[in-house]
């Protein structure tokens, strides 16, 4: 068994230290070492987006990042999207618009969609489809997900004015 590396990082605003093998992915570290199981493994090769997290301001599939690469970074996962007991407007829209069925892809979609709405307040359907194209959903056919993101964008705009 290879020697473990010490990693010092920031996850969801908290300073976190962990030990991991060099071959362990960030997804594995989040789930099995840090205990944040909201990020899901669907493929472990970057094709499904169920493990999407924000790393240094960019959305990435955490299965394609090594745990040791988290050193000194800022990571945000699905667990920090809600503000305490208050759901984020995207989460609320997913519920109201029935934008999830089995729910396994939902954390990845919400992390990715939030990153979009953090940058762009009024994305078009086409823009949302392009942005979410690395997140696979097998249950919904995406229709209600697209509607929920549009719905959330509208609500967030209204809240700001």
């Amino acid at each position: 068994m290879p020697a473990k590396s010490h990693v010092q990082t920031t996850i969801n605003g908290e300073s976190i230290e962990f030990l991991c093998e060099p071959r362990q992915s960030l997804l594995e570290c989040l789930r099995d070492i840090v205990g944040l199981t909201g990020s899901k493994e669907g493929c472990n090769d970057g094709n499904c987006g169920a493990c999407t997290v924000v790393l240094d301001g960019r959305i990435v599939p955490s299965c394609l990042v090594l745990g040791v690469e988290a050193e000194g970074q800022q990571i945000t996962t699905i667990e920090a999207v809600a503000a305490g007991s208050h759901l984020h407007p995207i989460q609320q829209a997913f519920l109201e618009d029935a934008a999830l069925q089995c729910g396994i892809c939902t954390p990845g979609f919400i992390v990715a969609a939030k990153a979009l709405l953090d940058k762009e307040s009024n994305p078009s359907e086409e823009r949302i489809r392009l942005w979410l194209a690395n997140n696979l959903c097998r249950c919904t056919g995406y229709d209600k997900i697209i509607r929920a993101v549009r719905h959330a964008a509208t609500k967030m705009q209204q809240e700001q004015t």
Binding site: T37, K40, N44, T77, I78, R138, Y142
Partner: protein, 764 residues
């Protein structure tokens, strides 16, 4: 999203209720949007160790020997198991809810005994202190193989000199045992009327041949299982499954222990579509746990999921239909040869039930062949078998329509199945909604809109799924504040907790959120069959309805005690108990609930059902496509899914089923395929190469929910989960024909296949 000038999601409602038909937020929603919901892979416990499976690199080989010594010697390895750790089942047969099958097949698919029958076939399990060590150890197991030639398609496997997967398997030939072994496990026939007379009466006969590729269910969550063989002898299982009782019974059967000794706790499940009915990992993890005394967790990789679970059958089909010049179908004949994969059980039986199910035809013959091939053992996939069959039938129908110059929906309406129509496999239809679905399609703005521009075309299609009932159990306990807790055994894949709870709420005059549904383990609720066959909202919903009626009866007795009245004189309306004695005595549900403790103790309603009144569902599709003449790529411009829900319990989730099924049908039609090498290796076993539809590949999926109430359900519900996947491939093929002038006779209709068809057409 530009605002369309029509309503994209319509419910053609026929009956109204207080809760049923509304759109409350699902009870498990908050956990699923925050990442808190615990799926199978999220489960952990003290002392957990990790398992890995050694899988065959060959599609067909005899196992001469297995040497596990090097694996066992690796630091961190705790145990290794092979088929030798399971009792030899001999010729035993079992019925685990999916029909009678040989126990040997189930065991051998879990751990291969003397032969491997597909690339990815499980051979051994290893448990170690970490997943990576377990994976390394699995690769240290040495297997000596005698390589055999694989057969990969039904036609190849049916040839007289084809290599045999099961050397002693004499299949059934029209009900009798065949006289010699072959790869055909079953050949059956359904007949109706006089097929020769029917074709003789026809003015036009069209016969076409089709091939469809194996496709995978494609659920995002891989299979997983954690098992503890506890010191008291009980086997405790935490896994993601469509049927916790199927896992319990199958595992108990394989391990040779009583069902009561196995407890399955179903975790949240990340999709199934039929593929999470079979048991793969649980018995292996159980054996490893028995050897080590520790809980063992095994996860499949995505490659494992493709190579070792599912898929749905590839098929070779011929369909022949005869019509009169005025558009009446006189005869229809189908030949359906489906690939079962390694063990018998291709979904050709339901395929044969559904192949002509949308039509009222006097003279029919359907021949079905269940053929084993060297691919993974197939599993159900959403309306299993029906999508293949409808692709053939509905494209033949389109060719007939074109030749006769009749409107596609008028032709289907003229021949539509209705109440009293007999299907070739036997049953006469009860009240069904085939005509209503076709009418709704005809009246939809999409069908009336002109289609303009070069290389564009519109196609329609219809499909039928019979749905199932099967056993379900439900308990409801009343809380002192007038809310209730509901426990059920149906794992919730698409919002069924809400759909089940809403039916109890309707009976009890409560709001949906006042009924708290929980999916519990196999110790805590009565037997409940799989989440499959579009049955949960119907059958478990019916169990909830009956359990709520039981609560109501008991509550009326309590009111009678308080009022010193006869129970017959007490009525329950809209959440209020009324004393019909001329007095103004009345109590709300919660006022009475508060007094349960002082009037005899808690009230628990219970019900266990196996409902006969299943309502089949028809679904139709209208779609417009554009075909790129340079590349053959098909772009879907517009897509409308229409389906009879009987009564939509929660319309948003019914729409979700229609949209999701539609898009799976689109993927099956246009992209998805097991791309096999000649030696039986799947060459595209990742989502990069097995390309499921992404958000960028699709338009919005418009829906029309038609409601033709099912007389077999108190609110009229029909199962809605499956029918929507059936029509898309044929509708797209018919649209491609209108756009590019080529009749597609294979799935998938990917750019290469479309271009090939265009070039073949130009050569002719």
């Amino acid at each position: 999203m530009s605002q369309p000038d029509y309503e994209p999601n319509v419910v053609l409602s026929t009956t109204e209720f207080d809760v049923v038909g509304t759109r409350p937020i699902r009870h498990d929603g908050a956990d699923k949007v925050t990442g808190r919901a615990l799926y199978g892979a999220d489960f952990t416990m003290a002392g957990l160790i990790h398992g890995a499976i050694l899988r065959s690199p060959h599609a067909h080989a005899r196992i001469k020997s297995i040497d596990t010594s090097k694996a066992e010697a690796l630091a961190g390895v705790k145990a290794v198991v092979t088929a030798q750790d399971l009792a030899d089942p001999g010729d035993q047969t079992v019925d685990l809810g999916e029909g009678v099958t040989r126990l040997a097949y189930i065991l051998a698919n879990v751990l291969a005994r003397d032969k491997v029958l597909y690339k990815g076939h499980a051979i051994a399990g290893v448990a170690a202190t970490s997943l990576h060590v377990a994976e390394e150890a699995a690769q240290l197991i040495e297997v000596d193989y005698e390589l055999l030639s694989p057969v990969l398609t039904a036609p190849a496997a049916m040839e007289a000199d084809a290599p045999l997967l099961h050397e002693n398997m004499k299949g059934k030939e029209l009900g009798e045992e065949a006289d010699r072994p072959s790869n055909v496990a079953d050949h059956f026939r359904h007949s109706l009327g006089d097929i020769d007379k029917g074709f003789a009466e026809a003015d036009l006969v069209v016969e076409r041949e089709y091939n469809t590729a194996s496709v995978h269910q494609g659920y995002i969550e891989p299979h997983n299982a954690t098992v503890l063989w506890n010191n008291d002898g009980r086997v405790l299982i935490w896994c993601s499954t469509q049927g916790s009782f199927v896992v319990r019974d199958t595992t108990a059967c394989i391990l040779g222990i009583p069902q009561s000794q196995v407890k399955v706790t179903p975790m949240e499940i990340g999709g199934g579509f039929g593929g999470k009915i079979p048991v793969y990992l649980e018995p292996v993890a159980a054996l490893l746990s028995k050897k080590t005394g520790k809980p063992v967790k095994i996860l499949m990789s995505r490659q494992d999921v493709f190579e070792s679970s599912g898929p749905t059958p590839g098929s070779h089909m011929k369909v022949k239909m005869g019509v009169t010049n005025d558009g009446k179908i006189t005869a229809a004949q189908a030949y359906l040869a489906y690939e079962a994969g390694a063990y018998p059980g291709a979904m050709v039986v339901p395929g044969a039930m559904c192949v002509f199910a949308a039509y009222d035809i006097e003279n029919v013959v359907v021949d079905g062949y269940d053929v084993v091939v060297n691919k993974p053992s197939t599993a159900a996939y959403r309306a299993p078998g029906a999508t293949n069959a409808a692709f053939a039938t509905e494209t033949v129908v389109d060719e007939i329509i074109e030749k006769l110059g009749i409107d596609p929906l008028e032709f289907r309406l003229k021949n539509a199945a209705k109440e009293g129509t007999r299907r070739a496999d036997g049953p006469k239809y009860p009240r069904i909604g085939c005509v209503e679905v076709l009418e709704a399609m005809k009246n939809h703005p999409h069908y009336k809109a002109p289609i303009e521009g070069p290389n564009r075309g519109r196609g329609v299609s219809i499909g039928f799924w019979f749905n199932v009932g099967m056993q379900s159990s439900c308990n409801i306990s009343v809380n002192a504040n007038g809310t209730v807790n509901l426990v059920e055994g149906s794992t919730d894949i698409g919002g069924t907790r809400a759909a089940v709870a809403m039916q109890a709420a309707e009976v009890l005059g409560l709001a949906a959120e006042d009924v708290q549904p929980t999916v519990v383990d196999t110790d805590s609720v009565g037997y409940t069959a799989v989440t499959g066959g579009s049955r949960v909202a119907f059958a478990t919903g019916l169990a909830a309805y009956e359990a709520a009626q039981d609560v109501k009866r008991q509550m009326i007795e309590r009111a009678a005690r308080i009022w010193e009245a006869d129970a017959e004189n007490i009525e329950f309306r809209k959440g209020v108990f009324h004393h019909n004695n001329g007095s103004s005595d009345q109590m709300t549900f919660s006022e009475l609930a508060e007094q349960l403790g002082s009037t005899g103790g808690p009230v628990i309603g219970r019900a266990a059902v196996n409902p006969p009144g299943v309502g089949g569902s028809f679904a139709g599709v209208i779609t417009d496509v554009e075909v790129d003449p340079e590349t053959g790529k098909v772009t879907i411009l517009r897509f409308t899914s229409v389906q009879d829900a009987g009564k939509a319990i929660h319309p948003s989730y019914v729409e979700g089923q229609m949209q999701g099924g539609s898009v799976q049908g689109i993927g099956w039609a246009l992209n998805e395929e097991y791309f096999m090498s000649d030696d039986g290796v799947m060459e595209n076993s990742s989502w990069l190469d097995y390309r499921m539809p992404t958000s960028l590949d699709l338009p919005m999926i418009d829906t029309v929910i038609v409601e033709v109430p099912n007389p077999g359900h108190p609110f009229g519900a029909r199962g809605v989960g499956e029918a929507s996947i059936i029509p898309p491939p044929a509708a797209l093929a018919n649209a491609i024909y209108r756009a590019a002038g080529v009749r597609m006779n294979r799935l998938p209709m990917n750019p290469g296949a479309v271009m090939q068809a265009v070039w073949d057409e130009q050569d002719n």
